[in-house]
Symmetry: C2
Subunit: 272 residues, 2 copies
């Protein structure tokens, strides 16, 4: 049974393992009125990744929390779009990494306004100098261990919509808050889930949707040389709140725009 906390009303215990060790995970969901975009993808990911961390998590309880939040907060956003964040922690614990015998997970529900959406003509992105390291056993989990993204975000100068993070070999892995989709000729490329800090739900939806529509998409490592080839790729940044965002300039390199991803697969079709 989840201990549900509304962040606008309640605090949490200072002994929660979420704060002690980042022992938990989160989802950030785009809402429209009472409905959620990519609802089943968010539920699937949180249930799957909670299981990887050994945190008890019932899908129906999570689903009920989304429904409840829709009811509670729809009016505050006048039926328009808003953002729901669910943080699931392992709950309270004593000192020390070992799990308490009986943990009661805590679900923190918080809401915020939609961020401004960028123009469809393309955004400017840069590179973070902060290297990204991914533990293979934790790859893809949207856990509460996010210091790398916090540190990379300190490098924003105000000019960039996003900063791309690279692994220690210089390969392009992901943005601080987005996944990457490249298009070159008729082929789509995205880094493999096993190399990612966060494997986004929109990424998963897009891979399935592109395949269903007959596109070829490869999950493979993206070397820095992709930006020095004569045949520059189209690049999209994607996450479940801002959607699919074309990039017109990356690290000072002008990129072609017009890969069509915005119209090929529209996550707003998944409202439920």
């Amino acid at each position: 049974m989840l201990n549900v906390i509304r962040a606008d009303k309640d605090g949490i215990s200072a002994t929660d393992r979420g704060i002690a060790y980042g022992d938990g995970l989160f989802e950030t969901i785009r809402m429209r009125g009472r409905q959620a975009v990519l609802r089943s993808f968010h539920l699937d990911r949180m249930v799957t990744d909670a299981a990887r961390l050994g945190i008890p998590c019932d899908r129906d309880e999570l689903d009920a929390a989304i429904t409840r939040a829709g009811t509670d907060y729809e009016a505050a956003f006048e039926g328009g779009d808003w953002v729901l964040k669910l943080v699931l922690t392992r709950g309270r614990g004593g000192r020390g990494y070992r799990l308490p015998e009986n943990c009661q997970p805590c679900l923190i529900v918080s809401v915020s306004a939609m961020p401004p959406l960028p123009a469809g003509t393309g955004v400017v992105a840069g590179f973070s100098q902060f290297p990204l390291t991914v533990n293979p056993q934790l790859a893809g989990i949207k856990s509460l261990n996010r210091l790398e993204q916090v540190m990379a975000s300190r490098e924003f100068t105000g000019q960039e919509f996003e900063l791309i993070m690279r692994d220690t070999a210089g390969n392009l892995v992901e943005g601080t808050r987005t996944n990457l989709f490249f298009r070159r000729d008729e082929e789509w490329l995205t880094p493999p889930a096993g190399n990612l800090a966060v494997a986004g739900v929109l990424r998963k939806y897009l891979i399935a949707c592109l395949r269903e529509k007959g596109h070829q998409i490869l999950e493979q490592t993206i070397p820095p040389s992709i930006l020095s080839s004569a045949d520059l790729p189209v690049l999209y940044l994607v996450n479940s709140v801002v959607g699919v965002v074309p990039v017109r300039s990356l690290g000072g390199v002008d990129l072609p725009v017009g890969g069509g991803l915005e119209t090929i697969c529209d996550p707003l079709q998944t409202l439920e």
Copy 2:
């Protein structure tokens, strides 16, 4: 100005960045009555590592928090030994990794009884199967991003005092909650700070103390072959709460005991 929270009395805001991203760091201090072991080492590390993370942190305020905790909790432990934990977070923030314009850091003060100390005749240690990955820019920081240690700690069977974590190349790096000191002949070895998830304060004290007493100590990578050589090393696990703990068996390999570290350098001499 720190927002000081006593974990036995107060909760924290559910929007604190400590819980959202593990955006903070902590110290675990052995206390005796009102005094702290390795007090200046703990203060130095928290101030230095907070600066690495860009979290404002005044040494005098931290020092005052230790003094205040000593006054508040000494009686509860009848003048004996106890454990003081200080968690420093960046404070509240909105949604998103970027830092809020004005953050007010939060210091959570919590206390617990001393854990049972192991017999001086040596403990049994094993290996964790969970790989340790260290971001070079975050190396050594006792941050709130500790999922790797939590996951490794799930492997304890009840037989081991500690589980040793290895990097993806198999090198021995550190325990889930301890640093490693090896002695072979007249030479001491410990993995370099730049490879560590947590560079402990007792580790720092011991390196300085051993050097001051004329011992040779090298900070170098420890390959797995150290356990298959004919000349097996003495091994100690060290942290600032349990002190210096000899290991008599590691992963089924019997190790010699009697390196003398317990008496060469005694951190209890640093009480202040």
